[in-house]
Structure formats: C-alpha cells, structure tokens
Symmetry: C2
Subunit: 158 residues, 2 copies
C-alpha cells in the first residue's frame, strides 16, 4: 500500500467516528475509553484517579468525554496527514513530548494501534484492508516514537 492509500483507508474508517460537539461525537470518543478500560484494565494505571473505573464510570465521566475527544482528534490528525511524512513525524514527536510526564512503557505506542483498531471493530465496520492500513500507519508511528524517545534520552524499545 502507498502512503496515500493508507491515508485514505484510515480516514475513511473514521467517517463513522467523527469528532465534534454533538452527543454522538462525544460518545465516539468516550466509547474508546469504555472499550479500552474494559479490554485492557491493566492500563488504567496511567489514568490517575481512574485506576478502578468501569466502562460505566467512564460513560458518566466528563473527564473521559474530553479525553475521548482529544484522543479521537489525534487519530483523525495522524490519519489525515499520513501522506505528508514530515508533518506526520513531527506530530508523533510532539505527542511523545506531551506524554513525557506520564512515564509510559515505550512498548505501549505500538500496542495503542491494537487497542484502537479493536475499538473501531467493536462498534462499527472495519474492513481487513482498513485494519491493515491502521497497522501500517501504526508501525511508522511507532518507529518515529522510538527514534524520538532515544534522541530524548528516554526509555525506548530497541
């Protein structure tokens, strides 16, 4: 697949998960965290104060409405700019810089794409081709993450 094809497949896969200010848009983001906390409960440790949240707690949480929009927007952005490689990589580095304070396991950057495609599959249609596109995007995302973590003297995956 070309960068352009990967981009278009990923953007298309998000059409039913649009960001915005309407209830459905907010739920598209909150829903990610409901899926995440249900299926990967061990990772709740990164969300201070929400370490024991159930999907139901997430659903009622304004914090995860906001956080949901933020992460969903980030996914839209990386999909949309994937065909502009240097912009894509700069956005990856900026994302790493902003997450520095959370002291994340560096393996989680690649793992995110398993979680995210799992969410897309769980609530709508994700074709095999779209899933492959997201994993190809994720591979490049992760590669730049690890380079930038190393250059920033932070733990990285070799």
């Amino acid at each position: 697949m070309t960068r352009e094809e990967i981009r278009n497949l990923c953007v298309k896969s998000l059409e039913e998960k649009m960001v915005g200010t309407e209830a459905q848009n907010i739920d598209n983001g909150n829903g990610f965290y409901r899926y995440f906390f249900t299926n990967f409960p061990d990772l709740r440790v990164y969300f201070k104060g929400a370490e024991k949240y159930t999907a139901d707690d997430v659903k009622k949480s304004e914090r995860f409405d906001k956080q949901g929009q933020r992460i969903l927007l980030a996914c839209h952005l990386i999909a949309n700019v994937f065909n502009n490689e240097e912009v894509f990589k700069a956005y990856v580095r900026e994302t790493i810089n902003r997450h520095r304070i959370y002291k994340m396991d560096p393996a989680l950057w690649m793992a995110f794409f398993t979680v995210f495609t799992g969410y897309l599959e769980s609530t709508g249609s994700l074709t095999d081709e779209q899933k492959a596109a997201w994993m190809a995007l994720g591979k490049e995302f992760n590669a730049e993450c690890q380079v930038h973590l190393k250059n920033s003297n932070l733990p990285y995956v070799h």
Copy 2:
C-alpha cells in the same frame, strides 16, 4: 475558492517551511518568532520571561526552537486538514483549550494570520493567491475560536 483549493494553496506555501529535526527545520520555526518579536513587540507580553527578547535572543533560545516547531507544526496541521471540516474545527477547539491558561485577548486569534502570512512573505515567496488562502482559512479558524470561547464562558469577539 473551495476548501480543497484553500487547503492545497496553504499546504503548498509551507513546502519551504517544513518541520523536522535538521537545523533548517528548526530555523523555520525559530524564524517565525524572530519575525513575530521584531514586528509585534507588544505581544511578547504573552511569553513569560521573554518579554524583552530581541530577534537575536530568540535565535539563541532553545525554548523558541521548541516553541517554533510547535507553532509551525500547528500551521501545517490546520493547512493539511482544512478539507476535513469537522477535524479542522476540533483542532481549533483543542488549540483554544490548550491556550486557556494564557488568558489571551480573543482578537489575537484572527490577528495571528496576519503575523503568520507576514512571516511567510518575509522569508520566501508567498503568492497573492496563497496569502488569500491563508486569510480564508484564518477566517474560519477564528470563527470556530470565537464560538468555542463563547461556549466555554470565556471572553470572545462579538
């Protein structure tokens, strides 16, 4: 101009101002602040600790190397996603949320595009059409800023 035409003109105008990790890329961002601080010195007040910086101080400043990449990346992002209206607007709202702590004059969101196109003109080529595209983008950027400021109970331009 259609959204697609505006997008393509703005993206094209940034080709010579690419983000990245090489010296030239860093200078593309730092250069914005040199231009900004030289031509709009009154706005330095928003940069705590740098209120009296000259262009020369900015040039030597690691802080403005980093800040320069961040703002240049933001401009690449808004240009690249302009044809995806809801993603564009979500990015605008996120930008407003992140700037809340700086208590900015709400008129500065539109003014930014005068500063930014001034920078592009000052260091390279910006065609009249590209400039018009950036101002059209800025008008929509600003419109969503003011709506979101109002919805967030913050000062906004009527």
